[in-house]
Symmetry: C3
Subunit: 340 residues, 3 copies
Amino acid sequence: MEFTIDEIALLLDGSVEGDGSKKINRLDKIQEGKDGSVGFLSNLKYEKHLYDTDCSAIIVSADFKPQKPFKTTLIRVEDPYSGFTKLLETYAKMVKPEISGIEEPNFFHQSSSIGSNCYRGAFSYVGKNCSIGENVKIYPQVYIGDEVTIGNNCTFYPGVKIYGGTVIGNDCEVHAGSILGSDGFGFAPQADGSYKNVPQLGNVVLEDRVSIGANTTIDCATMGSTYISKGVKIDNQVQIAHNVRLGEHTVIASQAGISGSTTVGKNCVFAGKAGIVGHIQIADNTTVGANTGIVKSITEPGKTFFGYIGFEIKAFLKSYSIFRKLPLLDNKLRELEKKL
Amino acid sequence: MEFTIDEIALLLDGSVEGDGSKKINRLDKIQEGKDGSVGFLSNLKYEKHLYDTDCSAIIVSADFKPQKPFKTTLIRVEDPYSGFTKLLETYAKMVKPEISGIEEPNFFHQSSSIGSNCYRGAFSYVGKNCSIGENVKIYPQVYIGDEVTIGNNCTFYPGVKIYGGTVIGNDCEVHAGSILGSDGFGFAPQADGSYKNVPQLGNVVLEDRVSIGANTTIDCATMGSTYISKGVKIDNQVQIAHNVRLGEHTVIASQAGISGSTTVGKNCVFAGKAGIVGHIQIADNTTVGANTGIVKSITEPGKTFFGYIGFEIKAFLKSYSIFRKLPLLDNKLRELEKKL
Amino acid sequence: MEFTIDEIALLLDGSVEGDGSKKINRLDKIQEGKDGSVGFLSNLKYEKHLYDTDCSAIIVSADFKPQKPFKTTLIRVEDPYSGFTKLLETYAKMVKPEISGIEEPNFFHQSSSIGSNCYRGAFSYVGKNCSIGENVKIYPQVYIGDEVTIGNNCTFYPGVKIYGGTVIGNDCEVHAGSILGSDGFGFAPQADGSYKNVPQLGNVVLEDRVSIGANTTIDCATMGSTYISKGVKIDNQVQIAHNVRLGEHTVIASQAGISGSTTVGKNCVFAGKAGIVGHIQIADNTTVGANTGIVKSITEPGKTFFGYIGFEIKAFLKSYSIFRKLPLLDNKLRELEKKL
């Protein structure tokens, strides 16, 4: 990539403040850039870096008011983060050219169909009666079982395993090592203390624009479907159990887990290592903090929970701040007892 | 599948209350069923759904007494959950026909042997001197290293990796992406602050009827065996470290982890994200709650533990309920101090 | 393997106390050994086993003073654990012979190069323009994307996936199912509540002597590199997010997670399930306890943290011990209130 600052401003519908003729050939963080880099300033926590950045240009907000002199060139846009993202996308298309074609050997059952402009990597496997759309990228060592339906513009990175019967919409991506459709964890206790496997007959459904990270697992439903609505974003090493339903645009960070038959609303955010018990409902716009346990249904939308057994975040932090000084409280109480 | 309600009752050794001639073609949850569905009612928490279910038939307990009128047909059996499971199994055999045969290309070392009625998927790998029983299903992209022994009726789903020297009994299943026999985490600290890898020379042993979920990891022993006894059920993304021993019919839910050289008794239950330190013993019939840490041996069988550093569950919940109102306690204490 | 005790003492530069002519053919734990086994005693917690061990020989410290009579032969060395490790290494070379050669079918792009004495297992994949050193072992079903650089003496166990652009030094090992270079979890919120994927253009860099366990995930940087310094040891199911930097000889146990853009110093130790938020700095020689959350930068080196929101370990344990008796405190407080 090589653009001038003026060309970038044109792409982003922004205005240049400083020398627009300089050449840009890298995207960098504001604090890490060099001559030839373009960075951005969105979160004002990072403003101090503007005044000593080595980036040749920084994308800032149209109404940003600098507090000190600086030497870089500004590109003013409406939303600096979106602007930078757009630039990243343009750059990504140039440096990560789209892959297509068929590598041998691969296994593709004759009863299955696939659209145009697809990639099927070496050692990939597609079972019986699958229907796969256009512009789908199946990287090496991916497994797609029987009777799987996949829309257009999906990407499955190396080693993804998709069990039979899974249904996937358009514009989905699944990163390496993730598993869709493994058996739900269902066992019937027997009189002798042993367990009998309960057959898991359902499937996994992904609507459009679902992104899934690496080494995540989504179990099939016992019956019916484990259901991931459109726009859901799931990070690495997340566990979604059988019969879970996730609402639109819900985001789940790494190592979180959602137990069986729980229904999650729209636009929720689960931080890393959050854990949700089974058979509950979570209202829309709920935020669950890192390593937080949710053990009963959340009915009021828009609340934020935190804690070992999560409750309202401010209340938890207040309690935890007193937990830290419990030895002090304990001493005070002893002294009061003595006095009486 | 299409049965009449009468035929299902016959299969389950139950009795029909209502119209037994209706056709059934699906299994469903009581709250999700439609005309043509059979559901079940075991946990009476779900009883309310009986009175407005659209299922054509519901399997209930022989002694169930309805509180209100309903329109569905009842199939009365001794244990509704077991009955439904039996029905699921019958159905599963019909809709998930058994797979067998050999897909090409695959790698099977000439020094290894395998019994009859097996499946070896494309891109599966079997190393040297393996002994594999009858009716074993090796899905695509499975790796089985050298000197591995496997009994009869085992299933290895796509992408399972089994390191050399592993020993597996009969009737085991391992879901996609799980790893058996990776190196234990052993490093010898050196004087200069670096670490030296300690060779891991042991193996993993699975007795009969062990079930393992997706993307779980079980490390080999440093010496000897990491040992999983018969009937153990392990969920997705569980970590079992080197030299752990799990007793019969112990159940471990998703994202739990057991550290090195810990010995777990029989019929224990570990909930999701439970974490057990190394080098301890856990008594039989111990229950460990979700995200609970166990940091020392548990010698008395049959107890339930919960909490960040787990202790007896009722005591923990009592303490936690007071933790929630610590700001109140803190205020009270201040007021008492003022008064004195 | 079959050595005499005298031969082992010679190998370890140690001295024999007892019958040095006995034959040794196994390495075992002190409490598990049999006739013909050699064990070791380093942690004196295990001293009691010395007095009834069935091992034919035990490696002990040069200055160890037994408290009771025993029947085994002692091999006295400077550091028993290092001595035993050296013995394990010698044994390992004998029982785990080095693998090399090429198994078919595999995929190796003609534009890539690889050094001598390498192993390329069946169904392994090496993309375009890769440069791979000598003595590298690529097990079956490994994926190595385009433009990957790998030094000498590295081992990639079955099913490892390495995204394009990754850079790996010498003497590294990555266990089965681990993923290097998957996309960082970056999404730009849109006005309508949906999210747009932010392209992830950076890579992962591993310096020399990095060890990575099974089913671990290390995301690529958004820009620049996620950077793992020399000698870092990472266990199974660890999550390292985009743009994290780990200092030399830092050790991370199973199921820990480090969020995006956090920088970790040298010689840190993170216990199992530890969770570190993003965008912070962790000083050198920091120890983070099991399941401990770190939510802000740690500036002072050499401290140990523990707790749900971690603080100094002794203070946490003190507070937690009072947490356990909170019901008692609550009662005392009520009584005091009554009295006043």
